[in-house]
């Protein structure tokens, strides 16, 4: 990939694999995060294979049981094996959150690029629009949109994209504005480069890396949002085994058995922990200054 | 409660000679002080065998390039080294007391009323969220016991007037950012003066100021010494300023004293090759049109100090012996110098070569 003339050398740039491994080794917290995320990826890939039972198989005679040799984590209200459901649920959790956040980044990047590069009244309009969207807490916006769109997995993704994109747009816009000031932009233009070329080849490579750090920190938030919305009943619909749904079912019957709530909660916490630790490590390695940009979001 | 800035000081028994040539007892006597910074790779020797004295009412200038250890010196004397700094050897005597054997509370009581310090960057040295009045009063309250605030405030106003802040009684309720850099430096000096210290350590107080302001601050300092007999340890990288202001001058290189003596003789006939090079490098009126002299090479990094004399790699007079043996600080005609060329036992080698213009 061509690196623009004006690119600043940052600590994380072009490090060899050895240097990366060394950085990771000195950060035990990040290492834990990386291990967790790796484990989650394995579960996502091989979930159904690892599951001892079919996650959809019901057995009413054995419902709401605690852990046993047969069902390591117990069963839910319809007699389905909790462990299997949780394992498959990993796919939902990551399968919704990760693509959604990536799409949010892409959308936000586009908006931010336009606003920052074109400027003028368009910039102002976009800025006000982004501000307005950001005035809605993510979950609230989600609820309002889902009331109209109807609950479904697809709509949850759409809703996450819409709520998370403004933040990326703002950051991208700010970065584009700084990059635009760089002398090399004028140089390129005087050499006859088209706007599109300047943006894609020179500006974008400098804008993208910080956005990826935000993305790493946003994934746990998105996972929590999806689980939360499904918990409320306005997200993923049964019988898809979203962790939020498992929690909701468990909540309904919490006086009969604590296990669904317990295990699903742990699954969520471990996942958010893993991604958060990983994200923080990446942020520290790449640019410690960004620690001020910690965004507070999520359910 | 200890905040993490108190260095692990040691009580060292080394008896420091307190008498000097003038016969008077030194106010501050630093003897063979070693300071080390602990880092990931190992230790960095920031100060090595620093020895010098400051007498009551005297202004001692400390000269050196960036990285020679000047700031470490002032921090060490105040015992305010960062957590990774440690005084590993030597003694610092202030009056009758050995500073390195004092506890944190005793040391705290010393800072301000006995030894005060002003810093290089006035723009950031005052707390931005408190008025200057509050800070000046607090400085006194930290040591004044139960004196009523009103009287402390009045003293503060008087002191501000003395250092040349106009409309002091009105401005005392304003915030630091409402003053210019030169004003803030004066406020710092006022803060120091309110405590009437015997020794004032001025760590490059004028480096951030323009020439006019600098002259005013220097005048203030002179008045200080004249009216109150305050001794001043004036740290700087500017030879010209030191020449104007100081009685004696100490030249530092790579964490150690290389020359120490009265200002006039040192400037007229510098002994150490580094001092000579420094003086030669300073632009003066008489040599217009000639290319500026520089000192070849650069200051050695603390992690890679050469063996033997630390200045030898850049020294025009270096001989093989200098690369092996680090010279001692020897007295030579009332002055001190650390250079192998001066060896009292075998006579003074090649002194003729070293006569400056």
């Amino acid at each position: 990939m061509k690196i623009a003339i004006g690119t600043q050398e940052r600590p994380g740039d072009r490090k060899g694999l050895g240097a990366w491994l060394r950085e990771i080794a000195t950060r035990p917290a990040g290492l834990v995060g990386a291990v967790i995320v790796l484990g989650l990826l394995i579960v996502v890939l091989f979930g159904p294979l690892l599951a001892p039972h079919d996650s959809a198989a019901q057995d009413i005679s054995r419902r709401l049981e605690g852990p046993s040799s047969d069902h390591l984590l117990g069963t839910d209200v319809l007699g389905r094996d909790l462990l299997s459901r949780l394992l498959v649920g990993t796919r939902i959790a990551l399968g919704v959150a990760v693509p959604a956040v990536f799409a949010a980044l892409a959308l936000g990047l586009l908006i931010g690029l336009i606003a920052g590069y074109v400027g003028g009244w368009l910039d102002n309009v976009l800025l006000v629009l982004m501000d307005t969207l950001q005035a809605f807490p993510a979950v609230i916006l989600a609820l309002a949109l889902l009331a109209v769109l109807g609950p479904s997995l697809r709509n949850v993704i759409i809703v996450i994209v819409i709520s998370f994109a403004p933040a990326y747009a703002r950051v991208a816009r700010a970065l584009v504005l700084t990059e635009k000031q760089n002398p090399y932009v004028d140089v390129e233009r005087s050499l006859g480069a088209s706007d599109r070329r300047i943006v894609t080849i020179h500006i974008v490579p400098n804008v993208i890396p910080p956005l990826f750090i935000l993305l790493a920190m946003d994934i746990p938030s998105a996972i929590a949002v999806e689980a939360g919305l499904s918990f409320l009943g306005v997200g993923v619909q049964p019988p898809t085994p979203s962790w939020g749904l498992i929690l909701a079912d468990g909540f309904d019957r919490v006086r009969d058995t604590p296990w669904p709530v317990l295990w699903a909660g742990i699954a969520l916490m471990v996942t958010t922990l893993g991604f958060t630790l990983l994200g923080e490590m990446l942020r520290d390695i790449y640019d410690p200054r960004l620690s001020g940009l910690r965004r507070l979001r999520g359910a | 409660m200890r905040l993490p800035t108190e260095p692990k000081g040691r009580s060292v028994g080394a008896e420091a000679p307190s008498a000097d040539r003038s016969g008077g007892d030194a106010l501050l006597n630093v003897h063979e002080l070693d300071v080390v910074y602990h880092g990931r790779g190992g230790h960095l020797p920031a100060l090595r065998e620093m020895s010098f004295q400051v007498h009551p009412g005297e202004i001692l200038g400390v000269i050196g390039e960036s990285g020679c250890g000047k700031s470490t010196l002032s921090s060490a004397i105040m015992r305010l080294l960062p957590p990774n700094g440690e005084i590993t050897r030597g003694s610092i005597r202030f009056g009758e007391r050995e500073l390195l054997s004092l506890g944190p509370e005793e040391m705290r009581r010393l800072r301000g009323p006995e030894i005060a310090m002003i810093f290089q960057d006035p723009l950031t040295s005052l707390n931005p969220t408190f008025t200057i009045g509050a800070q000046l009063v607090d400085a006194q309250r930290a040591h004044a016991g139960r004196a009523p605030r009103r009287s402390l405030r009045r003293r503060a106003i008087e002191m501000l007037e003395q250092v040349g802040i106009p409309d002091a009684s009105e401005r005392i309720g304003t915030y630091p950012h409402q003053f210019s850099g030169g004003m803030r430096q004066r406020i710092m000096i006022a803060m120091a003066l309110l405590l009437e210290p015997k020794l004032l350590i001025a760590d490059e107080p004028t480096s951030a100021l323009d020439v006019t302001l600098e002259a005013q601050i220097l005048e203030l300092l002179r008045r200080l010494r004249h009216e109150r007999g305050t001794a001043i340890l004036f740290i700087s990288h500017d030879l010209g300023v030191v020449a104007q202001l100081c009685d004696r001058i100490l030249v530092m290189y790579a964490g150690s004293t290389v020359e120490l003596g009265d200002v006039l003789p040192t400037f007229e006939r510098p002994l150490h090759p580094y001092t000579q090079a420094l003086i030669a490098a300073a632009p003066t009126r008489g040599r217009r049109g000639e290319p500026l002299a520089t000192i070849p090479g650069k200051v050695p990094s603390l992690s890679a100090l050469p063996t033997g004399c630390k200045f030898a790699p850049r020294c025009a007079h270096a001989q093989d012996v200098n690369l092996e043996r680090e010279p001692e600080l020897v007295e030579f005609d009332g002055r001190y110098v650390r250079c192998n060329i001066y060896d009292p036992s075998s006579g003074y080698v090649a002194t003729n070569e070293l006569q400056s213009r």
Binding site: A135, A144, A224, G250, F251, T276 | M1, R2, A139
Partner: protein
């Protein structure tokens, strides 16, 4: 400063107006008959015509927006579909409970989180500091609704220490407080973690600054340096963060209210969604947005007011 206040205020107002517009346009976002979208395909005829009339869906879109906007300004948010009650009164009643919950939760977080941060910074990188760091990360990564569920599970179901349903009677303060405890703790948990870290980080920064060096050089007691000076300087970034996170807090309140069956804006919205009572959804979301925007505004202005450098921007005297 005054100009900035005016600017921020106008911006806030603009955002609110745009939110109103957005909410009134919401039903038209999706292609299809708005009534079917709101009520679902199986709505009765009478309900459909009621909805149409109530929301003015036969009027041109611009008129709909204007009606909602002018109504909102007057405090009229329409009537709900099910009980024909004014949405505004339902929403205000619920808002009280939510605000109480949010304030108490935040207060708890401040009371616990800030001291934790101070304790951590006394011996940086000591074992206490590391312990608090681990606890902070753990607290931050627990999604609030999971925290709420666990609290419900342990303290309410298993141990029966606290009630699990409702808000209790306001007339009986002790009862109300008992019902408030677990929900408030659930809300506070994440924030305790944030505050502890933030306070620690900002204090550490202040303690390493030049003016702290000055304070120590003048023999200020450590106690002063830490509490009087460093804490004071560290409060401002804390408040700034507070502003940003208030929206987050409201979102968490939604879950907490549902989990503990507490009345409030959150449970109001969630119930309304399941009963397809759209005017309530619209009205409640609007009120939530207004609250969040003003809370942000308040936090932003306080933070600027507390920092003398910003407060006295125009009074620089060049001398």
């Amino acid at each position: 400063m005054r100009r900035y206040v005016l600017l921020r205020f106008s911006m806030a107002l603009l955002v609110i107006v745009l939110s109103v517009v957005f909410l009134s346009l919401l039903v038209h976002v999706v292609p299809g008959d708005p009534v079917k979208i709101i009520l679902g395909p199986r709505a009765s005829e009478s309900l459909s015509s009621l909805a149409r009339a109530e929301m003015g869906l036969d009027d041109p879109v611009a008129a709909q927006v204007w009606n909602f906007l002018s109504g909102a300004v007057r405090g009229d948010l329409g009537e709900d579909f099910v009980s024909r009650l004014p949405v505004a009164s339902l929403v205000v009643e619920a808002a009280v409970h939510t605000v109480v919950l949010a304030v108490v939760g935040l207060g708890l977080a401040v009371l616990i989180g800030i001291p934790l941060g101070v304790v951590a910074v006394k011996h940086p990188n000591g074992w206490v500091d590391r312990l608090i760091a681990i606890v902070s990360v753990a607290l931050i990564t627990v999604p609030p609704f999971v925290a709420g569920l666990y609290l419900l599970l342990f303290f309410s179901v298993e141990l029966s220490v606290f009630p699990s349903i409702g808000a209790g009677e306001i007339s009986d303060p002790m009862d109300y407080l008992r019902h408030l405890t677990l929900p408030a703790i659930a809300l506070a948990i994440t924030w305790i973690g944030y505050f502890a870290r933030l306070v620690r980080a900002s204090m550490l920064e202040v303690l390493g600054s030049n003016h702290t060096r000055t304070a120590r050089a003048f023999g200020f007691p450590d106690r002063w340096v830490l509490y009087k000076y460093a804490l004071r300087n560290a409060i401002t970034p804390t408040i700034a963060v507070l502003g940003v996170g208030l929206g987050n807090l409201v979102a968490s309140a939604v879950f907490v209210e549902v989990i503990f069956s507490r009345p409030g804006l959150g449970s109001l919205v969630v119930d309304a969604i399941s009963t397809r009572n759209f005017p309530i959804v619209r009205g409640a979301v609007l009120v939530i947005v207004v609250l969040v925007v003003f809370a942000n505004l308040l936090a932003d202005l306080s933070y600027r007011f507390l920092d003398p450098r910003i407060r006295l921007e125009s009074t620089r005297t060049p001398l």
